[in-house]
Symmetry: C2
Subunit: 448 residues, 2 copies
């Protein structure tokens, strides 16, 4: 294939050809996030080559976009000086997560290379539980005292702003470093220089605790449209800021996880192109194994009606249609409720309302689908079998909608992530119960 | 049930009891996004009552969080003065989307009530295609000329900042209003007052065109960690800013849509609690109808092998297990690829690589699951039937993974949203082909 306008040169091809000049050109022409994306697609051993060609500033930007696994592999390939320099400049929260996931040997080398100040910050962040706000916040904020003036505050921002991750939102504290609220940089710029911060601070500004789940804090930032959310410890003292870019990342990661779980797979960290066949298979195998064992139930149900089946073989023809339809209706309900739970539109106490609503949705869909099933069945087999199929469709759809909608709520009540109530899990459960309904109805209708 | 600490008072209950004092108290104690959430759960006719109790400032904040349907119903319930005031203060992009979705009568009343300046802005936004950046950007930005000094720029921010939606990021333009780049407010604050903006402006700052899809721009902001993204017209002139809160909303909405589509449902706008049974059923019915008709294929395949089935009824016992497993494997692959496409980890040209990788994942999973199926089958039926089932599991899983992974890529190539390749669609397709594989294998193994 020739290289055309539509097929731009790929960094991977340049690396494969060991074309250093081409790589330099490519890197100069692309923004940091596209470089990170290209590296993420590559094997880490290869990614190191273009990475080393980056200038210092972009090196850091690109590095922070990679996931911890690839960061580790790149780090170990660097000389000691470069290793230390890169780690020292990383944001403390990114660095803490990298060290947490690294093997002990790399983690020790990393911590040893840090300056005392940066090492203290990293150790502090590592003290918070995994997936908590503390792991994602930055302690590097410009903290202002509530008794200073706007003029003085702007001086502090000028002096210390460069070291902070963000100065869009500034935490304001009292004498005990307790968070009084926040002030926006734009407010400082537009206010009279003599104003004292305590007259300007937004004391109703949202805040979160460092031990809270990071995803909840990110969703709060989304709801309340916050660029940065101040984080406090159990004594209301300011400890860090959660910034919108971390919130965006947290929400995207949470959605990706939920989507994977919804299909019965464990979430796989890392770029799809860089994840190997074995890791993909492992992530998907757990639920598949459980579900194929669970589907033994369907074999048992069918065996229970083997005599009926031998008498009227035509009943078997509609088994895939019925299990498929039941599974589809159940998955739709489960998916809708899992999402509504994730974005906070439904809560545990809504269970009776949700079950009642979904049962009516299921019934409505069931009646509609039953008419189609009746038409198809009448064309292909004995009309009484078609009647049995149609009646079963109504019952199975209603049942599937109730099961699919209540299971995520019951999971949440039991303290389990509702996203484990995946479409395949619901389908498998509805399969066995649906067959029971179908053969029971068929026996009555056909009198066998 | 008595009211306990765990069951806080709900606004809906106060509205139902028409408890005005209780409502006032509740509203005073909750932030605007929780108020909006509570209103979104209610019928709009009821939501109007607490809405009118809000003070002017919070009224606007709450209103902007509601979705256009409910905004309309609240608007029409207001007197002319309040109606005009609320609309005039809304952000131009939110207002444009509201007017677009409103019936002609409300839209006309709304446009007529606006001041000429706000009407012009709204009309301009309405000129952009639906779902484009133009519909979500705000034209209300503080635009700086590249030849002014930092001191002058800060004066401009002070004078005009209050009317802008954000001043965190400031667009810098040349004499022809062409975008030169952006400068951060924090840079202005920390730079020497005599610096001329052209020496400070980041000319490599990302930008987007107003006609581009809004979701793509939001994902760019996420990748590049931008608080605001400058938007230009086809002549590179600055026309507006896309802000991070709109980006967050766009990404959440896109994920919610993808998740709904993944389960074979059309996306439903609005809060789950406020959407009626009929609308939910309608959103889910389209695919269910198509799929039950498509599943006639499974009946046809089964009919084709009816003679085999009559001879060995036990073959029917494993039909739900096989179709279920094939559907699960196929859905996992489809879900993984749809998500990888959405977040940009996989592109159309990766099709051969993806198909090859997924076929190996499917084969691996198939061999593993086949061993379980062999064990289960041997316990329950004739071992030769178990062998036929096990061999079919290997073939079906491999086939399902290839189908599930390539279909979203083919959809994208055909210009269709890959998310329409839903789990139910893949399951249904794999059902029919899987049965064909199963009965063909069984005939060979059993010699019938």
């Amino acid at each position: 294939m020739t290289q055309s306008e539509d097929e731009p040169v790929e960094l991977a091809d340049l690396v494969a050809a060991n074309d250093l000049i081409g790589m330099r050109l490519w890197l100069a022409e692309h923004p940091f996030y596209e470089i990170a994306d290209a590296l993420a697609r590559m094997d880490s051993a290869l990614a190191v080559v273009p990475f080393r060609l980056l200038d210092k500033e972009r090196e850091l930007e690109v590095f922070e976009e990679l996931d911890p696994g690839q960061q580790q592999e790149i780090l170990v390939s660097l000389r000691d000086g470069a290793f230390r320099e890169l780690l020292e400049k990383m944001e403390p929260d990114d660095r803490a997560r990298l060290i947490e996931e690294a093997p002990a040997k790399i983690a020790a080398r990393a911590l040893a290379g840090l300056s005392p100040a940066e090492r203290r910050m990293t150790a502090a962040l590592l003290g918070y539980p995994e997936e908590s706000v503390g792991r994602y916040m930055t302690p590097e904020a410009v903290v202002l005292h509530r008794d200073i003036t706007v003029a003085r505050a702007l001086e502090v921002v000028r002096a210390k702003g460069a070291a902070a991750e963000t100065v869009h939102v500034l935490p304001v504290v009292d004498a005990g470093r307790r968070l009084a609220g926040t002030v926006q940089l734009s407010e400082l710029v537009t206010s009279s220089p003599d104003t004292v911060l305590k007259d300007l601070v937004d004391v109703f500004a949202a805040r979160t605790y460092a031990t809270e789940p990071a995803e909840d804090a990110a969703r709060l930032m989304q709801e309340a449209n916050l660029v940065a959310l101040p984080v406090v410890d159990s004594e209301e003292r300011f400890v860090g800021l959660l910034t919108f870019d971390d919130a965006l990342e947290l929400i995207e990661a949470a959605d990706t996880e939920d989507i994977a779980r919804q299909s019965g797979a464990s979430p796989v960290s890392g770029h799809y192109a860089a994840v190997g066949v074995l890791r993909l298979a492992r992530a998907r195998s757990v639920w598949l194994l459980l579900l194929i064992v669970a589907s033994t139930l369907t074999v048992n149900v069918m065996q229970g009606f083997e005599a009926t089946l031998e008498e009227v073989t035509a009943l078997a023809l509609f088994v895939p249609m019925l299990t498929g339809t039941g599974g589809n209706v159940g998955s739709q309900s489960a998916t809708a409720i899992v999402r509504a739970l994730a974005v906070g539109e439904v809560r545990i106490r809504d269970l009776p309302r949700v079950a009642w609503k979904e049962s009516r949705v299921g019934l409505l869909l069931g009646v509609m689908l039953a008419l189609i099933a009746l038409a198809i069945g009448s064309l292909l087999v004995d009309p009484w079998i078609a009647v049995a199929v149609a009646l079963s469709v109504v019952a199975i759809c209603t049942w599937a909608a109730v099961i699919g909608s209540t299971m995520p709520l019951l999971a949440r009540r039991a303290g389990v992530d509702p996203a484990v109530v995946s479409a395949p899990l619901v389908s498998t459960l509805v399969d066995a119960t649906g067959l029971l309904i179908y053969f029971s109805v068929a026996r009555v209708v056909l009198g066998v």
